[in-house]
C-alpha cells in the first residue's frame, strides 16, 4: 500500500509540485512567523547577553530594558560596591530615542557609558573605539551604512551633535539599534546628575550570582536585582507575551490553509483514480487496506511539504539579512516540532474526505467504465 501511495503521489510531477508547494507555504507561514519572533527575542537580548555583566540592578518593579524606564538614585552605587563579592559596578543611563543622520531618523536605544566602564560596552566593534568619549558616539554599523556615514562623521542624538568614534555590530534588530554616548554627555542633556538607569555588576566569582543577587536584595532598598540570565529571560518574555495572540491567530489561519490545500490535493488524487481503487476493491482489497494507502499518501505528501516549508524558511532566514532587513529568523526547536505536529495533524485530517469517498466506492464502477 505504501508503494501504491508513493506511485499515486509521484505520477504527476506538476501536481505534486503545486500541492507540495501550497502546503509547504502554509507551513512556512507558521514557521516564519515563529522564526521572526524568536529572532526578535534573540536580537532584543543581544546587549544584555553580551554585556559581560553578572547582575542587573534596576528600579524596583522594572524587570527588563525593552520599552521600559528605570530610574535609580546615583548614590546606590556606593551601597552596591560595599556588597561582598562585587568586583565592579557600572552605572548606565538608558532611554529610547532616535539617531538622526541627515534627513534619516533611526530609532535607537541610547546608552550612556562611563569612561571606565568595565561591562555593558558594545560587544563587537568593527571600526574605531569601543568606548565613546565626550562628544563622541558609537553607533551600529548597519545604521551607519544605511545612511552612508562612517567614523568622524556627525550624528544627532537627543538634539545634540556627536562625532562617530566607533561602529558596533550585532546590536541592531527589526525594531531598533543601540547607540552609545558618554554618560557625562547623557547627564548634561537630561539635566540630571543624580539619576542612573541601571547598574551592571560584575562579581568576583561567576558561580555566586544568585547568592550575591540575594545579598544585594537584602542590603539595598527599592531595587530590582536579577542575574543576567534572569534579566534576559524577562526581556524575551516581553516579546513572547506581545506576540502570543498574533502568533495564535496566524498559526490557526496557516493551519487551515494547509489543511484545505492538502485535502484538495489528496481528494483530487483519489478522485482521479477512482477506477483503479474500484479495481482493487473488485479484486478483494479491503476498505482498511485502501484507507491505509490514502493515509500513507497524505503522510508522504505532508512530510515532503514540511521539509520544503522548513527549507523555504531556512532560505528566507539567509536571504532576509542580505536584503538589508534587520530581521533575524530563527527556527527554534519548539517551533520545529510544533509545525511538524501541525503537519501530521493536517495529513491525518486531509485523509478523512477521501477515506469517505473510498468507503462509498462501488467496485462495479470500474465495469461501468466510469
Amino acid at each position: 500500500m505504501i508503494q501504491l501511495a508513493y506511485r499515486n503521489i509521484f505520477q504527476s510531477k506538476i501536481r505534486l509540485l503545486i500541492s507540495t508547494g501550497g502546503v509547504a507555504l502554509s507551513l512556512m507561514l507558521i514557521l516564519s512567523l515563529d522564526a521572526i519572533f524568536t529572532g526578535v527575542e534573540r536580537q532584543i537580548t543581544a546587549y544584555i547577553d553580551n554585556s559581560q555583566a553578572d547582575i542587573f540592578v534596576s528600579q524596583v518593579g522594572v524587570k527588563n530594558m525593552h520599552m521600559a524606564s528605570s530610574s535609580l538614585p546615583a548614590e546606590v552605587e556606593i551601597q552596591l560596591k560595599a556588597v561582598t563579592g562585587v568586583k565592579s559596578v557600572t552605572p548606565i543611563l538608558y532611554l529610547s530615542n532616535v539617531i538622526v543622520i541627515g534627513e534619516e531618523r533611526h530609532l535607537a536605544y541610547i546608552i550612556g557609558l562611563p569612561e571606565n566602564a568595565s561591562v555593558g560596552k558594545p560587544p563587537s566593534i568593527v571600526k574605531g573605539n569601543i568606548l565613546p568619549g565626550p562628544g563622541q558616539a558609537v553607533i551600529d554599523r548597519r545604521v551607519a551604512e544605511a545612511s552612508g556615514v562612517s567614523l568622524g562623521d556627525e550624528v544627532e542624538i537627543l538634539g545634540e551633535t556627536f562625532i562617530i568614534s566607533g561602529l558596533s555590530e550585532g546590536l541592531s534588530s527589526l525594531v531598533n539599534s543601540i547607540g552609545f554616548i558618554s554618560i557625562i554627555d547623557f547627564k548634561e542633556m537630561r539635566s540630571r546628575q543624580d539619576i542612573v538607569s541601571f547598574f551592571l555588576i560584575e562579581i568576583e566569582e561567576g558561580d555566586k550570582r544568585e547568592a550575591i543577587s540575594k545579598t544585594i536584595e537584602n542590603e539595598v532598598e527599592n531595587v530590582s536585582v536579577q542575574t543576567t540570565e534572569e534579566f534576559s529571560l524577562q526581556e524575551r518574555q516581553v516579546v513572547k507575551d506581545m506576540g502570543t495572540d498574533i502568533i495564535t491567530i496566524m498559526n490557526l489561519v496557516g493551519f487551515s490553509i494547509g489543511l484545505a490545500v492538502l485535502s484538495l490535493t489528496i481528494y483530487t488524487a483519489i478522485f482521479s483514480r477512482r477506477a483503479e481503487y474500484g479495481v482493487l476493491k473488485a479484486m478483494g482489497a479491503s476498505n482498511m487496506q485502501l484507507y491505509r494507502a490514502v493515509v500513507y499518501q497524505a503522510l508522504i505528501s505532508v512530510s515532503l511539504s514540511f521539509l520544503l516549508g522548513w527549507f523555504f524558511t531556512l532560505l528566507l532566514s539567509i536571504i532576509t539579512p542580505q536584503l538589508g532587513y534587520d530581521l533575524q529568523l530563527i527556527i527554534s526547536q519548539g517551533s520545529f516540532f510544533k509545525v511538524l505536529a501541525a503537519a501530521l495533524i493536517i495529513g491525518g485530517l486531509s485523509a478523512l474526505l477521501p477515506v469517505r469517498q473510498i468507503s462509498s466506492l462501488d467496485p462495479a464502477i470500474v465495469f461501468r467504465g466510469k
Binding site: L25, L29, G61, S96, T265
Partner: protein, 366 residues
C-alpha cells in the same frame, strides 16, 4: 464560459475545497492589512483625542511613542508667552512594562494635570484621578486581568487605586493608562519633569507662524500634531512592513497555487476533450478562454468568500480579543479582489501552457 462553469461544477467537493483554500488565502491577506490599519488607528489614538494641535518635544524627538522626551525646565511658561498660544498642556509620558498575572504587558504611562487636560478622553466607568495614588486604567486591559474600580495595581513598585476605566485607549501592542503628573514625576524619579507640551493655538494667527515662534525656544522642537502622528505611524510601519509583506506574499502564492492545482487537474482530466476541440478547429485562444474562465470563476468565488470570511473572523477576533482592531477600507477590499483575480490568472498559467502545447492528434491516439 458555460464549458468552464460546467467543468468546475462537475465535482463539487473539489470545487468547494479549492474555493475554500483561496478564500482562506484572501482572508489572510485582508486580515493582515485590516490589522495594520487598525493598529495605525490605535497608535495615534492619544494624539487624535488629546487637546491642541502643536506638540513641543525635546530637541531631536519627533515621535510620541518612539522616543523619550524630556523638556528643559520652565519651558511651559516660555511657551505660554508666545503670541497666539492660548493653552499649554504639559504631560509626562513613558513606556512601562506591567507585570499582570505573570504576563508582561507594555503600557504607555501618561502623567497629566487633571485641571489642564491631556488625560483619558472617554471613561467607560468611574472618574478621573484626583490624587497621586489614583489611576485610570484601560478598560480592555482591566477586563483581561479582572481589574475593577477600587482595585490596587502596582506600577514600578508603587500601588495605585483604580478610580476609572478608560475607553478607546487600547491596542494589541500597548495600552494607555493615566495618573497625575505629580505621581508620574515621583514614579520616574524626575521632579518637575515634562515630556511634551500640547499647545492649543489661537485661530486668529497662522498655526505655522505660532509653530515657528515655538520652535525658536531653546532645546525644543515644535511640531504639528499631525506630523507627530505621521512620524509614529511611519515608525511602526517601518517595523511591521517587512514581516507583513512577507506574510502577504506567501498568502498570495498559496492562493495562486490552489487555483493552479485545481485548474491543472481539470485540464489534465479533460485533455482529450481539449484535443477534440482542437481537432475540430477550435483555436488556442478559445481554449485559453475556457481555462482562464475556470480560474477566474474559482478565484472570484474564493475571493468573495474570503472577503466574507474576513469580516466574520475579524468580528470574532475583536469580540474575543478587544485589543485587536481590524479595519477594512473599501480600497483594501478592492485590492484583495484584484489580488484574488491576479492569483487566478497566475494559477492558470501552467494549464494554459499545457492546452497550447496539446496536439489535436492526441485524442485519436488514445
Amino acid at each position: 464560459m458555460q464549458i468552464a462553469l460546467k467543468n468546475l461544477l462537475q465535482e463539487k467537493t473539489r470545487l468547494a475545497l479549492a474555493v475554500g483554500g483561496i478564500a482562506l488565502a484572501v482572508m489572510l491577506i485582508l486580515l493582515l492589512n485590516g490589522f495594520l490599519i487598525g493598529m495605525n488607528l490605535q497608535i495615534t489614538s492619544y494624539l487624535d483625542n488629546s487637546p491642541g494641535s502643536i506638540i513641543i518635544a525635546q530637541n531631536g524627538v519627533q515621535n510620541l511613542l518612539g522616543a523619550t522626551s524630556l523638556l528643559p525646565p520652565g519651558i511651559a511658561i516660555e511657551a505660554y508667552q508666545v503670541e497666539g498660544v492660548i493653552k499649554v498642556v504639559p504631560i509626562l509620558s513613558q513606556f512601562v512594562i506591567l507585570d499582570l498575572h505573570d504576563k508582561k504587558q507594555p503600557a504607555y504611562l501618561i502623567g497629566y494635570k487633571p485641571d489642564y487636560g491631556g488625560g483619558p478622553w472617554k471613561l467607560a466607568e468611574g472618574r478621573l484621578p484626583k490624587s497621586d495614588t489614583e489611576i485610570v486604567f484601560d478598560n480592555v486591559l482591566a477586563k483581561d486581568h479582572q481589574i475593577k474600580i477600587s482595585d490596587l495595581v502596582e506600577i514600578l513598585g508603587q500601588e495605585f487605586s483604580v478610580v476609572g476605566l478608560s475607553q478607546g485607549t487600547t491596542s494589541w501592542m500597548t495600552s494607555f493608562f493615566f495618573i497625575t503628573k505629580g505621581a508620574a514625576e515621583k514614579l520616574l524619579l524626575i521632579p518637575e519633569a515634562t515630556s511634551f507640551l500640547l499647545i492649543t493655538p489661537s485661530e486668529d494667527i497662522s498655526i505655522f507662524s505660532i509653530q515657528d515662534d515655538l520652535a525658536e525656544l531653546k532645546g525644543v522642537d515644535a511640531l504639528l500634531k499631525t506630523t507627530v502622528a505621521q512620524n509614529d505611524l511611519n515608525l511602526f510601519a517601518k517595523i511591521f512592513s517587512g514581516p507583513l509583506r512577507l506574510m502577504v506574499a506567501i498568502s498570495f502564492f498559496i492562493g495562486a497555487l490552489i487555483v493552479g492545482l485545481i485548474i491543472y487537474t481539470m485540464t489534465i482530466e479533460r485533455q482529450q476533450e481539449y484535443g477534440v476541440l482542437k481537432a475540430v478547429g477550435a483555436k488556442n485562444i478559445n481554449l485559453y478562454k475556457i481555462v482562464i474562465s475556470q480560474a477566474l470563476i474559482a478565484g472570484g468565488a474564493g475571493t468573495i468568500l474570503g472577503v466574507i470570511f474576513s469580516y466574520l473572523v475579524s468580528s470574532i477576533i475583536m469580540v474575543m480579543k478587544p485589543q485587536f482592531l481590524i479595519v477594512y477600507y473599501p480600497l483594501t477590499i478592492i485590492w484583495a479582489i484584484f489580488g484574488g483575480l491576479v492569483m487566478a490568472i497566475v494559477g492558470a498559467f501552467i494549464p494554459a501552457w499545457i492546452v497550447s502545447n496539446l496536439s489535436p492528434a492526441e485524442v485519436f491516439r488514445k
